[in-house]
Symmetry: C2
Subunit: 371 residues, 2 copies
């Protein structure tokens, strides 16, 4: 294998492909990046067996292909080495079978390689009719739901995002059983039904990859999913099991409907969160009184705080309810419009958040009983 390639072309590709390499991986060969140079261009592949990312650099973006071939380069320091090279063309050449020379005018790196025969055989399969979605829409779905997945390995299914497709309606749900985020997207075409759970940690890497306004193809299988985006293939395993049916969690009717400014409400919660008794749960209290909403928090050590926010309310009924300030801030961050709707049914029932103009996003937070 021998080629000449511009530093920044290689750096961008490597940065993205190496997102698949897990720092906790203990299988030596999976710490390597596969370079496969063909007459058409260079394929870079990295995998932690649960997640595989492949990028294709077409020959039009390569300065010179002298000799095709395959090699696995150890990924440790590889990204830093390429990043610190001057902005120029880089020579890459395999010598003695298992050594690679990466060089520019004044710099020569001689790196140990691994045998391609030891690399697992990973098939990146495609379906006939993939789901097509705009990359910005997919990125928004991720940002509005991913934060709510569970970090507890004791309930593995909840560490993923549930993607449910019916006709042209894609419903994405994440919950850790104390809060829930749900986003609904209407697709341009109709597809057969799917109900899968994709690991949150892999979705997090996919999010970093989606930087341009382009389209993403989603190729779904029983046990894996392939995302096709520009010259990248991104394949993740699926979590097995049946995701809880979350539709029943969200009530249809509400006793108290509050409308307020998202920014004012966010700032009040943000300040109140500073003084909370239990730092893990960040419990704060919200009380309504006519058109005033009051947020109170306290810490026996430091003191207490009180915030007032102006609201509109559909009823004379008032409420006093406690919840986690951290969970509320996480949920509020997903809304883009300034008018926020808070839907309530008593102090032990879920708090539902919506935007006034966009029905596609629902955030749910369970209250916390304080005595």
């Amino acid at each position: 294998m021998k080629l000449l390639i511009e530093k920044n072309v290689l750096l961008e590709s490597l940065t993205n492909v190496m997102r698949a390499i897990s720092p906790r991986n203990i299988i030596p060969i999976l710490n390597g990046v596969m370079f496969n140079l063909t007459d058409d261009g260079l394929y870079l592949t990295a995998s932690d067996s649960d997640l595989t990312i492949r990028n294709f650099i077409p020959k039009s973006k390569i300065k010179n292909i002298s000799e095709t071939g395959k090699i696995i380069i150890q990924s440790k320091y590889l990204l830093e080495i390429i990043r610190k090279l001057p902005n120029t063309d880089i020579n890459i050449e395999v010598i003695d079978g298992l050594k690679i020379i990466i060089s520019t005018e004044n710099t020569v790196y001689n790196l140990n390689c691994l045998d391609t025969e030891d690399y697992p055989n990973i098939s990146l399969d495609e379906v006939e009719k993939p789901i097509v979605i705009n990359s910005k829409d997919l990125k928004q779905v991720i940002n509005q739901t991913l934060f709510a997945v569970s970090t507890q390995e004791s309930r593995p299914l909840l560490t993923g995002i549930n993607f449910k497709l019916n006709g042209n309606i894609l419903e994405c749900v994440a919950t850790d059983s104390y809060r829930l985020a749900k986003k609904t997207l209407t697709l341009n075409e109709t597809y057969e039904s799917y109900n899968v759970v994709i690991p949150g940690k892999n979705i997090n890497e996919l999010d970093k990859l989606l930087t341009d306004d382009s389209t993403v193809e989603i190729h779904l299988f029983d046990n894996k999913v392939l995302f096709k985006y520009e010259e990248y293939l991104f394949q993740s395993s699926l979590l097995s099991g049946t995701y809880p049916n979350t539709n029943n969690f969200i009530p249809d009717d509400f006793e108290i409907i509050i409308t307020t400014s998202l920014n004012d409400y966010y700032a009040a919660i943000d300040r109140a969160a500073l003084l909370t008794q239990n730092k893990d749960k960040n419990i704060i209290k919200m009380d309504t009184d006519k058109n005033d909403l009051t947020i109170t928090s306290s810490s026996s050590e430091i003191g207490k705080s009180e915030e007032t926010v102006t609201i509109n309310k559909n009823t004379d009924k008032n409420i006093s309810i406690s919840f986690s300030a951290k969970y509320m801030l996480d949920a509020l961050k997903t809304f883009e419009e300034d008018e926020l709707i808070i839907l309530l049914n008593g102090d032990s029932k879920p708090i539902i958040l919506k935007s006034a103009t966009d029905e596609s996003l629902i955030q749910l937070i369970l209250p916390i009983k304080t005595y």
Copy 2:
């Protein structure tokens, strides 16, 4: 105590004064900030007994002084509370003796305070003829020497910077016994002689305070030093003991004098540092051959690297010498001019670095013997 003050005036002052509060402090009263409101203005003081910072906000910068008085406010969360308030005027009012209300239109914080009688009596003294130095010059001295102080508490004196004043010459030295940084400044006036050691961690806080181009007065005592800068008083303890005489460490004559580009040399060391056998010491090797300087490094696991830099040399003699890449990079960062001079006397003698145009700065690094 009762006053009305613009948020950003208070925030800037608090941010700087609170640099004196140590996160490791275990004396409760020293976790507080003293607010002392007089008819002339507001004095804010914080201290960890080793370092004290006081700022004066004159009445011209305060919106309203309703009632003078003193109080100690717990510093935990205080900065975050003020930072998160809207950009407006803030009411501060002591109630019930040991509680303080910090409020704006929609926000009320009610914070616990501490008794001023428990606060240690700290005298911030001045001498008749302080040393006067430009704040940018002092900041440069700090940035060119502070990194070289020792972090080992086993030799406490080496954790400080040695300030030695003779006539109008101020010499500042820091060393951890493996490397040494020395900067000489010529002052505008002549002063009596001093030889003191100021704790590095306090100097580090002073550095953050010096943001404007202004003058600093240095008031030196036997056991403490007071820096006066704008409306700030910054008082540090001194380290006791006799600092080693470091003048003998730096030779006058050199066998090999190398001139090269600082940027090229820095980039070569920076890249070579990635692949080093012993990650703690970051050992790399430098060899000269006529007008070529070669930097090599290796890691049995990853591979090896070779960098070539063009140099001028005063002699046909060549050298092969090993040293810590981390120490070399730290030292190189202190130079501003592009032409670097490397002075050598054999592979077991100190490596001296200078700039071609500025004699005031000397960096020394001990070589590391490799077999």
